[in-house]
Symmetry: C2
DNA sequence: ATCGCTGCAAATCATTTGCAGCAGC
DNA sequence: GCTGCTGCAAATGATTTGCAGCGAT
């Protein structure tokens, strides 16, 4: 049961750093689904000496404390975004690669009642739709 | 539009090989979600000199021609299984790692009608539920 | 005789980690 | 000053690829 006042991570007390703050700023501002590499490129503009390792380390921590949401996609790369209060899913365009959020959750109705009949306790789930977005549809 | 008699892959005409046949046999018999490494270990019992590269190459080809279905999971590893006529989704146990198929598809009802209102053409989708299976639930 | 397939090893790609110094608290 | 955080570089793990020889059609 995490305490919202003193954020701790497996016994550790988190400190702040300019690098971590910048990563959060970028995720907040760009409001997008960014790969670690993309975040790295963006933070490098502010902190030219930052390393990819630091980006990964911070994304790991931020994901663990629930500030950031990590989603893995079919291309094997993870994307990160600020954790939003209501969870959501994704529309991924196979042509331009754009990722759009959808708030509809399939866990809602029939699946949920179906789960009750199964002897399985769902904790989290992922739902991603791949296809062609409005722009790429017509081509 | 692929021709079911002469299976071709981007201009190539496929030949058969004992290795490829063994991979298909294993996927058919074990009827499970196997990682490339697990498949490799199984095939090695029949073909001790087979290489992991060959396993990957065949899985790639078999996936392309639609004989095998590849799913990527949150741990970053892909799992392979024989392509079944009706597509399905997965229940993944976070404790024992067991993966169970579920035939229920969230694309069915409300999501599908919702997609019609969006300017997005869905082509494929993934839905995976992570949690604790019957066995691991009680601990 | 083609040309796809194989084993092997080296190459990639995403991500993780060990280490010594630096920086918040 | 303690200890978390950083840059750097090397390590890891999954997957891909170049190459020369083998094997199926």
């Amino acid at each position: 049961m995490p305490d919202s006042n003193s954020i701790a991570l497996s016994g550790k007390t988190l400190r702040s750093s300019k690098q971590r703050q910048s990563i959060l700023d970028i995720l907040t501002q760009q409001h997008a689904h960014l790969s670690a590499e993309e975040i790295y490129q963006s933070v490098k503009l502010l902190h030219p000496s930052i390393s990819l390792g630091t980006v990964y380390r911070n994304l790991e921590i931020l994901t663990e404390i629930g500030a950031v949401y990590r989603a893995s996609f079919a291309d094997g790369k993870a994307r990160y975004e600020m954790a939003s209060p209501g969870h959501h899913h994704h529309l991924v365009c196979l042509k331009c690669g754009n990722i759009e959020d959808i708030m509809e959750c399939p866990m809602a109705k029939d699946i949920e009642s179906f789960m009750e009949n199964r002897d399985f306790q769902p904790l989290r789930h992922y739902f991603e739709i791949y296809g062609h977005c409005a722009k790429c549809k017509q081509k």
